[in-house]
Amino acid sequence: MQILLLKYSVPIKNFFLPRFMLLEVKNLSVEFEKGKKVLENISFDVKKGEVISLIGLNGAGKTVLLKTIVGLINPVSGEVIKNTDNIFYIPQKIDLDTSFPLNVRELCELFGAEGNYEKYLKSVGMDGFLKATVSDLSGGEYQRVLIAIALSRKPDLLLLDEPVSGIDVAGEKSFYSLVKEIGKDYGPAIILVSHNIHLVINNADKVLCLHDHSCCVGEPKEVKETEQFKEIFGEHLQPYIHHHDHVH
């Protein structure tokens, strides 16, 4: 009986993670050179269906955090406890060689779930682009195709690294609406890296602000109403500078 219990027991790491919790990051630290930390003691959790916006200045470590979550980078300390292996990461810069005549259909067949991607292409408005070459797509169209590919895999957690870089302001707004719909209709938790503080506040369930260390995690409405936030960001769309002398 004891042997059976050992054989069929769940791994100790996930055992204490509640079912509704997809991911828990605990005291995570990453460094590339000795003594030069990129991330230090980051802690947060992700629940099923949550949309989390990850904000921070360039070089704050947002991409490093996402890559550490999926296992592309190993931390020096801390842990990433996952309740699922079904995580899809869409990087900021795709390393595809677009000089090859790769069309959307082939891209979906290679990286999406077989026979399942057409439905999702339709949901992101890209169903008419199956024969289009990937190199001919605009930035926004390309991102939509990648999201369709990701959704066809039915991920529990979707990581989007600056998905709106290279997209105009109108496209950004439409993209965030799409992200909201995805969360509602398909249910994956989403961690989304963004520089647009205004759209982040209006579209995320939670905001994680990163600046060398995890500065703050909280609901956007709470964050938005603090005096410190208004003082730093104002009420207009503009580049922001984050000061770490406040508590949420």
Partner: protein
């Protein structure tokens, strides 16, 4: 036409066609993966490691083909291990291997003063001097490498197209990268016998780069690349025997003509 058929009577020519056809087919197909991964310099490194293997075989009186194969495999393994440690830029690492292997080969050969070694056949290839044993080795490699590509082309394509996107889909990506490198090393070792150390990189550069500007899809580009590789090999072989030209270089020149024609057509 009679002239072409006439050469089929000669066993050395038939052997050359068989081995050349195998190399042209497989290596030109694999050139798609190599070009996508931006690892053309890898071919250059492996071919120079092959030259070191040849020099070692001469020094130790080992069978040349087997030592060449072993050297390429060992080199591929070492490169793969060092690449995963990410201490160096990829092109620097590969060039270091290429230059050190070349230098070692030259030093080893220098230990044989007065020993007449026809190193030229390894630098420039000697497909018309292919033995029966080489034919069997190439057919065996065709089966092994061909089956691996047939079974795992999708995986190889995923890891070659995008390291980041394939991370979620391909388990044990390091293992698959290693397997692909080993298959490439095996084919390069064989190709050195046809076109030589200095020209073997042409097989993994030119066909794929020609096909990708003509084809309408990835699938089409791989098929076209393989066809062009075989066609160039056969055309180069025949041309070289008819006009008494160096065979390896003629094959590469035919490939170059295809590439040039593709560039003109595409414009």
């Amino acid at each position: 036409m009679t002239m072409f058929i006439e050469y089929l009577q000669y066993p050395f020519f038939v052997r050359a066609l068989i081995v050349g056809g195998v190399i042209g087919l497989i290596l030109s197909w694999m050139s798609g993966y190599v070009v996508m991964r931006r690892e053309v310099v890898l071919t250059h490194a492996l071919s120079h490691i092959g030259l070191f293997g040849i020099a070692l075989a001469i020094l130790m009186s080992y069978p040349v083909t087997l030592t060449l194969l072993a050297a390429c495999l060992a080199g591929a393994f070492l490169i793969s291990r060092l690449q995963s440690r990410k201490l160096f830029n990829n092109d620097s690492l590969l060039e270091i291997f290429a230059q050190l292997s070349l230098a070692l080969a030259i030093v080893i050969i220098a230990f044989f003063p007065g020993y007449r070694i026809n190193i030229e056949q390894f630098l420039f290839g000697d497909i018309l001097g292919i033995s029966r044993m080489d034919v069997w080795v190439s057919l065996a490699l065709l089966v092994v490498v061909g089956v691996m590509i047939l079974l795992f082309h999708r995986t190889f394509l995923r890891i070659s197209l995008s390291d980041l996107l394939s991370h979620a889909l391909v388990r044990r990506k390091k293992l698959w990268n290693g397997i692909l490198m080993i298959l490439l090393a095996l084919m390069i070792a064989l190709a050195i016998r046809i076109v030589g150390v200095l020209l073997v990189a042409a097989f993994v550069t030119i066909p794929s780069n020609t096909a990708k500007i003509l084809a309408k899809s990835i699938r089409g580009s791989f098929i076209l690349s393989a066809c062009l590789g075989v066609l160039a090999t056969f055309a180069g072989l025949w041309t070289s025997v008819i006009f008494d030209l160096p065979t390896g270089a003629t094959i590469v020149l035919v490939m170059g003509l295809f590439w040039l024609a593709a560039v003109v057509v595409r414009r």
